[in-house]
């Protein structure tokens, strides 16, 4: 699993990556009450706002970690947004995407580097 400075995790699955937010990010957000996911098939550029998450406190955006195409979204989150707090690095993944350049994954942090980053 790889981690971004925007507190997302990426896990390679075949030629796709699965994207979610880290446990640390979920704790910071507080109780998640709404998740808006992108359309499958959307072509996105790095840093596009692709997911909206609302907690009891505020709204936040999840950015596309890299260029690519959204291939699948986790639509169960729309009905059960609380899952983001319960299992952020497991069941509560947001979307899968096919990367334009899979080698860019290598630039992200590994778990040890991320733990150090959030200090």
């Amino acid at each position: 699993m790889k981690f971004t400075e925007e507190h997302e995790w990426l896990r390679a699955e075949g030629d796709e990556v699965v994207v979610g937010i880290t446990t640390h990010a979920a704790e910071q957000l507080g109780d998640v009450v709404f998740v808006e996911l992108p359309e499958e098939g959307t072509v996105v550029s790095k840093d596009d706002e692709v997911v909206v998450i609302e907690s009891v406190k505020a709204a936040s955006d999840i950015l596309a970690p890299l260029d690519g195409e959204i291939t699948e979204v986790n639509s169960t989150l729309a009905d059960d947004p609380g899952k983001v707090n319960e299992d952020p690095q497991g069941e509560a993944w947001f979307f899968k995407m096919k990367l334009s350049d899979p080698s860019q994954m290598d630039d992200f942090m590994d778990e040890a580097a991320y733990q150090k980053f959030i200090g």
Binding site: V33, F34, E54
Partner: protein, 374 residues
């Protein structure tokens, strides 16, 4: 940036693991480790303890009750004179245009008037009283007192353990209680829609009292986050958001707070700032009105969101002034102002959220029925 002020409970908040944020010039707990959602639900099911010591506590005295009450009536459109001893009312300061300068609670304590005002407005409120009240009325800001709210269906059980007289109080009663050796001014009121108490105590006794209450099984500490969602579900206004100097009480759907004696034709009509404008709005009906707003989907609609009467209309008919998620409803809730033709309950509107028009329906307030001990 100016340094934040602290309440007498700041050390306790930090020891409890609160996340502290700046609010109205004070360092305040926004949530504890329990989290906003569970703090909210705990308060509705059991009892929550809130530090509201940032609010202003002011004592007006001088001569007779009649002198004090009539002096205060020059600043508020409320029947102060008719207030029974040991009773409290909701009120607001108005300006010459009829707008609301702050909302407040006032209580009669013998010949004195005890006033609680919002933290962000308290300096202006004290200045307003000093400028307007006659020389014979003493205005004392009680800066050496803390204010603790205990709210929820088990608040009575908890407080009555310290002084059994708490159980005999009714909604909006005010009494002197002895809370484990701590002399307190207690009102049966709050800002959550639940039964509960607001407890004024000397600053140096506040932490001990809070700790005594928190040691009880029913009671958990509650931060500003849940305070906001609780009051929103209860349909209660937050000054600076739902009320402001450009909004008159008729628009704000607060006509109920102005007793008959102070309305047009009443025994003591007029004599407060903006009376003509307020009576005019009452007679002709306001151009816009504060309403409840029930989003039809799951997306929260927050302060500032514009409201439209169709999916394509270009001119808004209103705006959300408070909005978020209502944990007890398990759904988003909001309130805001809409033009008079759209204010009747059940009107279908559209809210523009992140560039999309989403359906929302006007509704009566509160979202959660009040649970007061009348």
């Amino acid at each position: 940036m100016t340094e934040l002020e602290q309440t007498p409970l700041v050390a306790l908040h930090k020891a409890l693991g609160a996340k502290m944020v700046p609010f109205a010039g004070y360092e305040m707990p926004v949530q504890y480790p329990m989290g906003v959602m569970n703090e909210h639900l705990h308060t509705r099911a059991h009892a929550g303890l809130f530090d509201v010591s940032h609010m202003g506590q002011v004592l007006l005295s001088g001569g007779s009750w009649e002198a004090v009450a009539l002096a205060f009536e020059a600043l508020v459109p409320m029947d102060v004179l008719g207030l029974g001893d040991g009773r409290q009312r909701y009120g607001f300061f108005t300006n010459d245009a009829g707008g609301i300068e702050d909302d407040l609670m006032f209580a009669r304590r013998g010949d004195n008037l005890f006033v609680v005002v919002n933290a962000a407005c308290k300096a202006a409120d004290v200045a307003r009283m000093r400028a307007a009240l006659p020389g014979g009325i003493a205005i004392q800001e009680l800066t050496d007192r803390a204010l603790i709210a205990l709210q929820g269906p088990q608040a009575e059980t908890a407080l009555a353990r310290l002084d059994a007289r708490a159980a005999g109080m009714r909604f909006m009663d005010v009494a002197d209680l002895d809370l484990g050796g701590c002399a307190a001014i207690v009102s049966r009121s709050g800002y959550t829609g639940e039964d509960g108490f607001e407890i004024s105590v000397p600053a140096d006794r506040a932490e001990q009292l809070a700790q005594t209450l928190l040691d009880m099984d029913e009671v958990a500490p509650i931060g500003l986050g849940a305070r906001d969602s609780l009051r929103l579900e209860a349909g209660l206004c937050l000054y600076g958001h739902d009320l402001d100097p450009q909004t008159n009480p008729i628009e704000a759907s607060l006509t109920w707070a102005m007793q008959k004696a102070r309305r047009a034709g009443g025994a003591r009509q007029g004599g407060f700032p903006g009376a003509a404008a307020i009576y005019d709005a009452m007679l002709h009906g306001p151009d816009r009105r504060r309403v409840g707003l029930q989003p039809q989907g799951r997306a929260p609609m927050r302060e500032g969101v514009a409201l439209f009467d169709s999916e394509t209309a270009s001119d808004p008919v209103g705006r959300i002034t408070s909005g978020g998620f209502g944990p007890s409803l398990g759904a988003p809730v909001a309130m805001g102002y809409v033009t008079a033709p759209h204010a009747s309950s059940g009107t279908a509107l559209w809210a523009e959220v992140r560039g999309k028009r989403l359906p929302v329906t006007t509704c009566d307030l509160p979202f959660i029925p009040a649970n007061f001990k009348r």
